[in-house]
């Protein structure tokens, strides 16, 4: 990831990247829920044990892991001897990625509890 990731950890676009990923996840989960309910609505009695919850839950975990990996990527860069303004970006971006990951996990918690289409 250190070499392969297209956006360096000190690039200013890292600052909004994590939260953009959160926003995309949010729209996908909300939109996906509506589409899922429209095409194959599970029975209400199934509670949270449905294919829709499973797909949304897996997506939530995958996005959270990606965001945490990005945070680590930026934190490692912040430990290298970058110029101060680049260090500022790397540290800030690491923080933003962690916040985005936590936001994803916390916002996704209801997937474990609620039936999708009721």
């Amino acid at each position: 990831m250190k070499k392969g990731f297209p956006l360096p950890a000190v690039h200013p676009l890292q600052l909004p990247l994590g939260l953009i990923i959160w926003a995309l996840w949010f729209v996908t989960v909300y939109g996906g829920l509506s589409v899922g309910c429209a095409i194959a609505q599970p029975a209400a009695e199934a509670g949270a044990l449905t294919w829709i919850n499973a797909v949304l839950g897996l997506l939530t975990i995958a996005v959270s892991v990606l965001l945490l990996a990005l945070a680590r990527f930026c934190m490692l860069a912040a430990q290298r001897g970058e110029p101060p303004e680049r260090l500022f970006i790397a540290r800030l971006a690491a923080g933003a990625h962690v916040i985005a990951a936590l936001s994803t996990l916390i916002t996704g918690l209801p997937i474990l509890v609620f039936p999708p289409c009721v």
Binding site: P12, A23, F26, L33, E85, L92, I106, P110
Partner: protein, 827 residues
């Protein structure tokens, strides 16, 4: 003062001269435009306040006949509309436009004429809305204009049209200001002001600007669709024709909830600026505050459905928005704790601005807590559409915006007038406002919990609402007296106030390094910044930039967006009639659309197009003095580069357009999946080969343009005319193909499906047309020598237009043809 210095000052004054009389309409200086925004916002605030007092007078006692229900509906609708669209945001944008260049060490904003244009759009849009009150045809469907109440069936007059056209016009001003502030902050900071050294207020405005660019287009789209439905009979929100009224609610709140934070964040920026100054220590947790502001900016876009908890959305979806609504309190709390820690660790001085900061902290924290309560779905259901929500909203908006705004105005008053405010009168003003506010709205929470609904023009006696309503009304008038006292203080101080010393508050930001009031060019010499406290740096003037003005150009530094190191000298445009004239013709277009005089509207549209083309044609490069290269600063002029502020401005404008387009796509998929009577015809009404041809032609134009830019970068401008001819030809062919596509048999008044297709095609035609027109103008400018390998900055700007148009064309093909086809909805 030596003779040479006098000459230099006279030269500066001549270059940055602001004319008076009628020619004052040509002024583009950020200080003047910022103050105009604020003065106009103040007038609208007084009008909105008067409407509020009418509401409180009506509700003071039960069974009042002071106003009829119809007039009451107009009054509360206009109160909300005026306060949200004509006061809160324009006022803060005005403050930002005035302050930002002074705080970042620039002589003006990046696009001074755009700022002036935005102001006139705001003014004319506001006047159109005000005209509706005078004509007793004011909108009456609430400031959120929910359909179907606002549709032509239930609001048949022009009332709703005033809102839709007037507010859309005002929103143009908001978006232009957002673009201007965004680019100015990223590209015109003084030497050495890296992102990590930016004042916190600038960070807040940066995030707010991005939010404006993304947040306003959904409502602009919603307003266009609703106006098309009302005036042209197109189907978007009518269930019987395949539409859905909830689409309006989504589009409105996609804008509406971020709007609350768009208003709050600049005000919080004022607080983050003032507290360290009056606590006499640097802010605690600068980086945490920046992180909190960024997070707030994003998460605030994920809350919009909490305004729609009662419309019948699945529990799981409600839970997502409920959690996100609670989550946004966390970054807000981080800021509050940073402010408290700064006060705790400092030696606070309770000057007049700090009183208002104190008022903000108390009221906003309370409003934030009731916000968390409203984020809980069951509680939200209980108090939905009651006065509890009204009380919460006013705690957040008045506490979160008005109190910090007054604090900021008192703080920066010496910059505006060179004089200090009166502490005595100011304190009276504060305490009356604070007590009056809490009397009105704290009590209103209980009125709401007792079950009184919003938007009722009167109520029966004996329901338990009499006393709380009377208290709220008395409190409202007490607050009115407080606000009047503040205004009196501000007016009196300008004449009798004590003259301000240099840097009267001992602040550390750059604006206080200037004389009070500052000259129109802000800084004689642009300084180098070495830390976050430049005004406390004794070496501030050791290295300076742009001393010369004898060439007659208005200039400021163009910087690297991250490090703040100077990259280029930006040549700024001077005073001009173009912004006023273009805004005026657009206002005429707006009025002719309003009265449905469509032939006149077509003429006004054509005139507007011609004038806007004329404006784009008459930029500074046509004048000889613009091309004289600087001698004292070893930096290139911006027009010699491929990375000009204009390119950044275009990208920002395209982001705004992209946000509108994404909202359109959301509308398509939303209606497809949710609207109960949405129908696909048996076959697509569009000829897909023709749409594919449009896509290929747009791609060809983008490809040819790219090749031309590559050659130009290599210093070869010889093939540019030929390439531009080819691009213009492709563009013209694409426009023709689109015109043919528009002849498809679309039942736009019968089916939402066809109406959405029409809007998407028109959107694509608009972008293809603009890109083609810009290419033709470029071609002419190349021929005249205004654009060449030595002055290439306009070429990449038009390239972006083609890139974007190409992207839109392919997405439309995918969404309108390929995706439904693969889903099997067309046979």
């Amino acid at each position: 003062m030596s003779e040479q210095q006098k000459t230099t000052r006279a030269t500066r004054a001549a270059v940055w001269h602001n004319p008076t009389g009628w020619r004052a309409l040509t002024v583009v200086s950020h200080s003047v435009i910022g103050k105009r925004f604020m003065w106009t916002g103040l007038v609208f605030f007084l009008i909105g306040g008067l409407l509020a007092m009418l509401i409180r007078a009506q509700l003071a006692f039960p069974d009042q006949a002071f106003m009829s229900s119809d007039i009451y509906n107009q009054v509360f609708t206009m109160h909300g509309t005026v306060m949200m669209f004509l006061f809160a945001l324009p006022m803060l944008e005005g403050l930002a436009m005035y302050m930002i260049p002074k705080m970042i060490g620039a002589r003006d904003l990046a696009f001074p004429r755009l700022g002036a244009f935005g102001y006139f759009c705001y003014l004319f849009g506001g006047l159109i809305l005000m005209a509706s009150i005078v004509l007793a045809m004011a909108p009456a469907s609430g400031w959120f204009m929910y359909t179907p109440l606002s549709s032509d069936v239930f609001s048949p007059g022009l009332n709703s049209d005033f809102w839709l056209l007037g507010v859309t016009f005002v929103e143009i001003a908001a978006v232009t200001a957002g673009i201007e502030l965004l680019v100015s902050i990223l590209r015109t900071r003084t030497a050495g002001m890296s992102l990590s050294r930016m004042p916190l207020f600038v960070w807040y405005i940066l995030v707010t600007s991005v939010m404006v660019v993304f947040g306003f287009p959904p409502l602009i789209l919603g307003s266009i669709l609703l106006e098309l439905e009302r005036a042209g009979g197109l189907a978007f929100f009518d269930v019987a024709r395949g539409g859905d009224p909830l689409l309006w609610q989504h589009l409105f709140w996609l804008f509406g909830h971020p709007e609350v934070y768009i208003i709050f964040l600049p005000a919080a920026g004022v607080i983050s600026t003032l507290i360290p100054v009056f606590a006499r220590r640097p802010i605690v947790g600068y980086r945490a505050v920046v992180l909190a502001v960024l997070t707030t900016g994003f998460i605030s876009f994920g809350l919009w459905v909490h305004h729609m908890f009662t419309v019948g959305i699945p529990q799981l979806a409600q839970a997502f928005f409920s959690v996100a609504s609670m989550l946004v309190a966390v970054p807000t709390a981080i800021q509050i704790f940073a402010w408290l820690a700064t006060l705790w660790g400092g030696r606070p001085v309770f000057s007049l601005p700090m009183l208002w900061v104190f008022g903000f902290l108390v009221i906003f924290v309370f409003g934030g807590l009731t916000g968390v309560m409203l984020a809980l779905v069951p509680f939200n259901w209980q108090v939905h559409d009651t006065h509890f929500v009204v009380a919460h909203m006013h705690y957040v908006l008045i506490g979160g915006m008005l109190f910090p705004l007054v604090a900021g105005i008192y703080y920066w008053l010496p910059l505006f007038t060179g004089r200090m405010p009166s502490m005595q009168l100011g304190r009276w003003g504060f305490w009356l406002s604070f007590i009056g506010f809490n009397l009105t709205f704290l009590v209103m929470h209980f009125t709401g919990l007792l079950g009184m609904p919003r938007r009722v023009y009167t109520y029966e006696a004996g329901l338990g609402w009499d006393i709380p309503n009377l208290i709220s009304s008395v409190g409202g008038f007490v607050m009115c007296v407080g606000v009047a006292m503040v205004l009196l203080d501000l007016i009196i101080h300008a004449r009798f106030g004590r003259k301000a010393k240099a840097n009267p508050w001992q602040a550390d930001t750059l604006e206080w390094s200037m004389p009070t009031p500052p000259p129109t060019w802000n800084f004689d010499l642009l300084p180098r910044v070495r830390d976050r406290h430049p005004n406390h740096d004794p070496q501030l003037q050791d290295e300076t930039w742009l001393p010369a003005m004898h060439h007659g150009r208005r200039e400021t530094l163009g910087c690297d967006p991250v490090s703040g190191e100077p990259r280029q000298v930006i040549h700024l445009p001077t005073n001009s009639w173009w912004p006023f004239v273009c805004a005026l013709t657009l206002a005429i277009l707006c009025v002719t659309l309003l009265v449905r005089a469509y032939p006149l509207a077509a003429l006004a549209a054509l005139l507007s197009l011609l004038l806007l083309c004329g404006w784009s044609w008459h930029n500074g490069l046509r004048k000889p003095h613009a091309r004289t290269l600087p001698t004292q600063d070893q930096l290139p002029m911006h027009f010699a580069s491929f990375d000009s502020p204009g390119l950044w401005g275009t990208n920002a404008a395209l982001l705004a357009s992209g946000s509108l387009f994404m909202s359109m796509l959301f509308g398509w998929f939303y209606l497809w999946t949710v609207a109960p009577l949405w129908q696909f015809p048996e076959t697509s009404p569009l000829a897909w080969p023709l749409l594919l041809a449009v896509c290929l032609l747009c791609s060809l134009a983008a490809l040819l343009y790219r090749r031309a830019v590559v050659r130009l970068r290599q210093g070869d401008g010889s093939t540019l005319p030929r390439s531009l001819w080819a691009v213009a030809g492709s563009g013209l062919a694409a426009c023709t193909a689109l015109a043919l596509l528009l002849r498809a048999p679309l039942d736009i008044t019968g089916q939402a499906h066809d109406a959405v297709i029409l809007v998407m095609l028109l959107y694509l035609l608009l972008h293809t047309g603009v890109a083609t027109l810009a290419t033709v103008l470029q071609l002419r400018r190349v021929t005249l020598g205004y654009v060449s390998a030595a002055a290439p900055f306009e070429v990449p700007i038009v390239q972006q237009l083609w890139r974007y148009t190409q992207l839109v064309a392919w997405i439309i093909l995918l969404v309108l043809i390929a995706f439904p086809q693969s889903w099997g909805v067309y046979t």
